[in-house]
Symmetry: D2
Amino acid sequence: MTPERDSRPSAFRWPVRVYYEDTDAGGIVYYANYLKFMERARTEWLRAMGVDVNEWALRTGQGFVVRSAHLNFIKPGYLGDELLVSVEPTVQKKASVTVFQRVSNGSEALCEGEIRLAFVELKTMRPRALPEFMI
Amino acid sequence: MTPERDSRPSAFRWPVRVYYEDTDAGGIVYYANYLKFMERARTEWLRAMGVDVNEWALRTGQGFVVRSAHLNFIKPGYLGDELLVSVEPTVQKKASVTVFQRVSNGSEALCEGEIRLAFVELKTMRPRALPEFMI
Amino acid sequence: MTPERDSRPSAFRWPVRVYYEDTDAGGIVYYANYLKFMERARTEWLRAMGVDVNEWALRTGQGFVVRSAHLNFIKPGYLGDELLVSVEPTVQKKASVTVFQRVSNGSEALCEGEIRLAFVELKTMRPRALPEFMI
Amino acid sequence: MTPERDSRPSAFRWPVRVYYEDTDAGGIVYYANYLKFMERARTEWLRAMGVDVNEWALRTGQGFVVRSAHLNFIKPGYLGDELLVSVEPTVQKKASVTVFQRVSNGSEALCEGEIRLAFVELKTMRPRALPEFMI
């Protein structure tokens, strides 16, 4: 996970403001909340491709589930920060996609993660081939 | 909402420990989290009456929804505090029940609330008569 | 809390998208999260008046704390909804202000609340006169 | 991360009940909340060693920060589940410790993670040698 990784102009980015709800008594963004920020950005990344995750799930019974998340916490985020969360697909398989995500404050990376998403039949959790819009 | 209100031995009480996840950058328990603590206590209060909320909903399609919450924030809670959350029914109607709840640290009340719960058909949100175990 | 209350053009409004993090197993927005949405809107309302809550607290040692919240839960919100959260001051006293807030989906009110904010010395929690920008 | 890993009797375990607040509209435990559960267990693991994290931080200005988290999401958790969260130190260095954590429902692992904790001077975030009680 190198700093160059999402510097490509192609990486999708989504802004997130840090409110009290996101922080903890250490005065910083609570570590689990980076996973919330990353999911917001992934949802908006799919929406930017014309896909409403919820509508898709209701219509097809299929959707993404997170299989793994490898997170590095690099620097703390603070109340009031306006962060950017990137999404960049790195590995694509038949029924899953891995995305690299970075939460940054200006030029500083606060948290980086590799998130593996499996595409599944939501009722049975059985793997399904990635939909067209992902390929 | 007077201090005497849940001093009755009959009031159900449930312990809640304050972790980092519950606090904010002000160094205190984040205000919305008292609603989480109160719901935990209500769930355990029903469990103590022999009712598993989730199993009940799946079996009967009926359950409680919160209609209103009147909260007073009296004193802050802090990281590491071991709090007690009480539940005490105050008003019972045909299809709803109001409970008084207090979150305390020892003898000090931190947050008090009156929560009105309607009993409904979960799919339609139509009111239903309170189940036997509530009467 | 009538529907007309924040229909005034003067009411501040802030958009909030509903993500998975905001919902619960009932398939709807978890009730405590309306307090999060309301705080986001209050923060942005103050920012629109030129006040950064966090910077203000650090510089002056003073800030708002929530003293009470009276919430009515009217209709459920759902995953993917784009909500609007209004802020409208209703009662102003020497050291506190009450705001009426509504979370709506289009023309439908989902949750309404009256939130009383006290202005305090943050270390001692002693009341302080409202700052100029609030008057 | 094999199933045998925390089957050792020595592994610390902490129970966590799944409430509405922990679930999402998919009907399952929201993925970020496993990090909350893991932190609760780590806090109680330290408390079982006689260390109150908060009191320690206030007294010494030192404490743990999470540097990385590698999580595998294996099976979903559901509303009402009573889970067990284990903590087992795996790698110990001069200024950091890695713990393996598993969230299980009975004999089924739901989520496993390796969490690297650095011991730091909290103001400067500079590494400090692990305290005696960790060695």
